[in-house]
């Protein structure tokens, strides 16, 4: 069973102060820490678990600048066999990303291609399913469970309201992986250091035969802080004072 996993390096923003770049088109990233997109981490782990069960090879791909090599190294340390970095400026156009990935995976005998459901940073949630269409493969998105038998994958998709659906998808197929599908394993630093010695293939767009100069589907005009609009009334004071106000509110509201 040969599996390709498409991954992305993203900045962590949850607790960070955010500033907007001068040109207004993105946030400043020099104060941020970067990591492997959470969803992709689950996808790589799932691929490795499937490999352990059914044998075969796991290949990870990313599109991005030099620095994105570090997430590939992490994937290799997690148990992926080979890594490919496609040199291209990062883009927020999901369709373009899907087209490049399609060009890079086309004609290779993958049984499964996995992506994360979405990226933590811009959250388009588009690449996996678009890639499937470009390759002419069936797909399932938001997958929380995979079982493979007789050239088919039985997968569970997460729906709204705590309900899931069980599907059967013929292989080869593209699946987008939801968090929680497996228990991530610790990736030790020594495994990462060992993985740094493994080769990461670096290719340019021409090398994979990607020549399309079609205009981007989507471009960001500007980013801005959300309008404050209706905002919570912020309770102020020492913790004791704040809790004093809080208990009054809870008392009143809980009836």
């Amino acid at each position: 069973m040969n599996i390709a996993v498409c991954v992305k390096r993203i900045p962590k923003t949850a607790e960070a102060d955010i500033f907007i770049e001068k040109d207004g088109k993105d946030i400043k990233k020099d104060n941020l820490v970067f990591a492997l997109n959470d969803w992709d981490g689950y996808a790589v782990r799932e691929a490795v678990l499937l490999k352990e069960k059914y044998e075969g090879e796991v290949i990870v791909l990313t599109i991005g600048p030099e620095e994105s090599k570090e997430v590939l190294t992490r994937c290799l340390a997690m148990g992926a066999d080979r890594a490919v970095r496609i040199e291209a400026p990062s883009s927020s156009d999901g369709h373009l990303i899907a087209k490049i990935l399609a060009q890079a995976t086309k004609g290779q005998s993958f049984d499964l291609i996995l992506t994360g459901v979405q990226a933590e940073d811009d959250g388009w949630g588009q690449v996996g399913v678009a890639l499937a269409q470009l390759l002419g493969l069936p797909h399932a998105s938001i997958v929380t469970h995979i079982e493979v038998e007789n050239g088919k994958a039985k997968v569970r998709r997460e729906l709204e309201g705590g309900i899931e659906e069980l599907l059967e998808v013929k292989l080869p197929a593209v699946l987008t992986i939801q968090t929680g599908i497996n228990e991530p394993k610790y990736v030790s630093l020594s495994a990462i250091l060992d993985a740094e010695d493994k080769e990461t293939k670096e290719v340019g767009l021409e090398e994979i035969g990607f020549t399309s100069k079609a205009p981007l589907d989507a471009t960001i005009d500007q980013v801005s802080f959300p309008p404050t609009g209706k905002m919570a009334e912020i309770l102020k004071g020492t913790p004791e004072e704040v809790v004093g106000q809080l208990t009054e509110i809870i008392k009143k509201k809980k009836g």
């Binding site: 607790e15 820490v33 394993k185 610790y186 030790s188 020594s190 250091l193």
Partner: protein
Amino acid sequence: MKIDPKTFIHDYQLNICIQCGTCTGGCPVKFRSPLNMRRLVRETHLTDNFSSISKRAELWACTTCSTCSLRCPSGVKNVELIMGIRNFLANKGEVPSTIRDALENTLLQGNPWGRFRDRRADWAQDLGVKIFGEETSETLFYVGCAPSYDPRVQSVSTSLVRIFQKAGVDFAILGKKESCCGNEIRRMGEQALFKKLAKDNTALFKKLGVKRIITISPHCYNAFKNEYPDLNIPVQHYTQVLVDLIEAGKLHLSKELGISVTYHDPCFLGKQNKVFDEPRKILNSIPGCDFIEMERSRERSLCCEGGGGRMWAEGGTEGKRNGEIRIREAVALAAKTLATACPFCLLTFEDSVKTSGLAEQIVVKDIAELVMEALEVQ
């Protein structure tokens, strides 16, 4: 890097064990978990199925307090054995999920809680502290992870800054450039990550021209003093610095506190590094501070269970925690304050005070906070 458990016999001198059981006898978690050091030494020595030993959950119950290895009459390296096994497990990725998160957070954000690097010095914002890079000093005040991020322990960091400022000590902190010292990382089994932290921190300290390091946590103190291979910079725990300042007449502890206080020796300060007298000297120089010695004190101090990665591991033990036992011992002495000098002891005791329902009878303080109180003349 593959680890061969066969080398454990030689590395940790398992073959010289005389099976006297002293190690197990003194172990603070022996009643609370199946961990039995004497048996572990024996079994690791003789087994040809090491992986069955390494699967045992109780390996994560050890607090690395070192009571066992310090008391072993033969010189078996018991704690190093535990850390060796954990290293074997970490390299295979087989660690409890909370330890996994703590280790990954440290690699990514430089602290086991995964709090943002950028926020590491938020606590010091309004204190007028010098930060290396903007200004310089020969003395590095190394704050550490818990004192940087944990709101309870931040009060210790702030107290020390005020005390040093009052005594005219010239110092600077690393601010956002500070990273975990790695002491607990090593004890959770991540030797490679520890080595990286040691290397990076050493290089940073040297580049900044640091001539002396002061730490808040005995755990950082231990790492810098005993486990950083190329540091060669003198390290002091803050209690040692305060004694010097008091003796040199630079700190006037003038306010009567009117409290009875007992002191808990942190394992990494006391039994492992023999800093016993300084904390007591400080307490004795605080006016109106009636110092009572605990029955189990100095070398015999009962581990609070905050070390060895226990701040991040759950489970592996059951029953009443040592922190609670310790709180009850202090209350039995009629002490109104339990003083300590370690962030982890402080946090575990704060928790135990609550769980034991003794909050009315005793408070937990760090020595730095008591000194700060005694300095303040209203």
